[in-house]
């Protein structure tokens, strides 16, 4: 049964019952006449029409989504309007149009008018309680469904992020290298398995940790590069140059790792002769006087990852976009991440970060406990 069908069943059934109930009730007090019957039918029809009009108003203005506190006064007033209109309609149609004789018996005095309207008001309120009650149940159920849908979506997004972070191409290639090394150089194969395990463990905590000290991030990066060196052999060289001050600064977890992975994927893997990846980190005084830059604070952390090659359009892929979003979320809009070509055929990714993460954004999941004890899991 659709909602519209349910509504009409209740609406017709309810008002029909009301009319029958009134006729039966009045027949106890006085002999039922057809005139009375018509009178009640008129009243019931008026109620049906006006509550239906009320439903139109409710739907148009979205009253079913109002809070109880805002809804109740509106409904009470609306019920009064409905009952007044119903009473007037009954009176006009019954007394003047159909000229039903029993209206002559009752005087249209003030007291009776009030009683009739109060009666209609209670009836309209009853209608509203049922109507809004049913909608409340429906809304609640819908909210439950929406909640599950949202959770499923979030879960899918998390999985997608994890897959991206896992870098399956790298992992399968590494496993292939391990398989080859087992025959060629067993001790090296063992070291490689250990490193793979370490990197996998680090990657899997992507949802728990938000920021780490650069020092710890560089441990991950080095593990990764050593693994890639097994695969690329002489084609991959790397140099890491990070000052003492820079090493103690917090950075988004796996940001450097993403940049270095990009360097391998778009730089080294595309060059037949390979090349050198240089990773530099330094803390510089903020000489820039613009307002945007001021938000970065006095000491700006500069991270640079450079690789041979030229910038491809697809290098601004999802990985880099995610890194950028995460950087802004954690360190504010002033933090920046850019990727550019240099004159000597290299691609450089540069990130600029303030000294500490910005205040937790309520919209973003934010547990910064990792920045106080970051070494816990990463080492």
């Amino acid at each position: 049964m659709t909602r519209t069908q349910a509504y009409w069943t209740c609406q017709l059934g309810g008002w029909g019952l009301y009319v029958v109930f009134r006729i039966v009730l009045s027949s106890f007090f006085s002999a039922g006449t057809w005139e009375r019957t018509i009178g009640f039918v008129v009243l019931g029809t008026a109620g049906l029409v006006y509550t239906h009009a009320f439903r139109f108003v409710v739907k148009t203005w979205g009253w079913t989504w109002l809070s109880l506190r805002r809804l109740v006064p509106r409904v009470m007033l609306a019920a009064l309007v409905i009952s007044t209109l119903s009473h007037c309609t009954g009176d006009v149609v019954g007394r003047y149009l159909l000229e039903l004789s029993f209206y002559d018996e009752v005087e249209s005095g003030g007291g009776l008018l009030l009683a009739s309207i109060a009666n209609g008001w209670i009836l309209s309120m009853l209608w509203s309680v049922i109507y809004f009650g049913v909608h409340a149940v429906w809304n609640y159920r819908q909210a439950e469904v929406d909640k599950w849908k949202l959770e499923a979506q979030a879960e899918a997004a998390r999985l997608q992020a994890l897959k991206l972070q896992l870098n399956p191409h790298f992992f399968f290639n590494s496993l292939n290298s391990v398989r080859a090394l087992i025959a060629e150089d067993p001790p090296r194969a063992q070291r490689m398995v250990t490193r793979l395990a370490r990197l996998l463990r680090t990657t899997l905590q992507v949802n728990d940790v938000k920021t780490v000290l650069l020092e710890d991030e560089l441990v991950t990066v080095r593990t990764y590069l050593e693994l890639e060196k097994v695969r690329f052999e002489d084609r991959l060289q790397y140099r890491i140059d990070a000052g003492e001050a820079a090493r103690g600064r917090p950075v988004p977890f796996l940001l450097m790792q993403t940049l270095v992975e990009n360097s391998v994927k778009h730089g080294i893997a595309q060059q037949q002769g390979g090349g050198t990846i240089t990773i530099e980190a330094s803390v510089c005084a903020n000489g820039d006087a613009t307002r945007e830059s001021a938000a970065l604070g006095h000491d700006v952390l500069h991270l640079r990852v450079a690789n041979p090659g030229t910038l491809q359009s697809d290098q601004r892929g999802t990985g880099l976009q995610n890194a950028q979003e995460r950087l802004h979320l954690l360190f504010g809009e002033a933090a920046s991440l850019t990727v550019t070509d240099t004159d000597d055929d290299r691609v450089v990714a540069t990130a600029r970060l303030p000294g500490r993460p910005t205040a937790p954004n309520p919209a973003a999941p934010s547990t910064f406990d990792s920045s106080t004890s970051p070494a816990r899991d990463v080492k």
Binding site: N176, R179, A180, A269, Q270, Q272
Partner: protein
């Protein structure tokens, strides 16, 4: 069963060694050579004329697909990839043989067995476009054709008609008509003249697919292919055709 001359093309030494080791037990495989990129592969193909390529898709510079597109004729090919969703989708869609790294011995065995079965039917040669003294392309040979996301290994026996389109040539086979980056003249030089006939500046016909040849105008002939396509021959080529027929 003949021994398959196999060329391993992969940019990682360890990956090449691993394939070598996995194939060591099979006596129906001879490793003819190795190549670390498309250029090396082309040189190795000219040198060794392999029956089978075990081809990595992702390589620095040109990819495995690029390499195949640059060959005039391709041997049997089994692709190898670590993890590339796009490549794997392409293999699945186009029903190409492929293996994923790390390569499972059983899967490799199955793939080689399949190739051996196909070798019984046809032994396509490998011919680099740059070959100075090119071997002739016969009906048994196959070309690799890539048209957008779709790709095929097309046996020349199945190609009814070659049609010039500037520097490209349109191939007609089955219900497909993709373009390859070769001029019609280049193809004419390579194709076996006993089987493939240059009908005009526009067309090369596969004589196997010609149903009927009728006079068209005074000095011209018209060939009708089995799919109903009618191809007008040039005057000069009509004369050649008559001469060859009368011989």
């Amino acid at each position: 069963m003949s021994s398959l001359h196999t060329l391993i093309v992969d940019d990682e030494r360890l990956a090449r060694d691993e394939l070598r080791r996995l194939l060591a037990d099979r006596d129906d495989i001879t490793i003819a050579g190795e190549a670390a990129n498309a250029d090396e592969a082309k040189a190795a193909i000219q040198e060794h004329d392999p029956d089978l390529l075990l081809l990595d898709v992702q390589m620095p510079g040109e990819s495995g697909f690029d390499l195949l597109e640059r060959l005039d004729a391709v041997p049997h090919v089994v692709f190898v990839t670590a993890y590339d969703e796009y490549a794997i989708r392409a293999f699945e869609v186009n029903a190409l043989d492929y293996l994923v790294k790390p390569v499972e011995p059983q899967r490799l065995d199955d793939a080689i067995d399949t190739v051996q079965q196909r070798t019984d039917e046809a032994s396509p040669q490998a011919i680099a476009a740059e070959d100075d003294t090119p071997p002739t392309l016969t009906a048994e040979d196959q070309v690799f054709v890539k048209d957008g996301k779709r790709c095929w290994f097309v046996q020349l026996a199945d190609v009814r008609l070659f049609e010039a389109a500037g520097n490209y040539t349109r191939l007609y086979f089955g219900a497909e008509e993709p373009l390859i980056h070769r001029s019609l003249s280049h193809l004419e030089d390579r194709l076996d003249p006993d089987q493939f006939f240059r009908a005009s500046r526009q067309h090369i016909l596969n004589l196997q697919w010609v149903d009927d040849v009728t006079p068209w105008s005074k000095k011209k002939l018209k060939a009708t292919l089995s799919d109903g396509t009618e191809i007008e021959m040039s005057r000069r080529r009509s004369r050649t055709f008559r001469d060859q027929l009368s011989l």
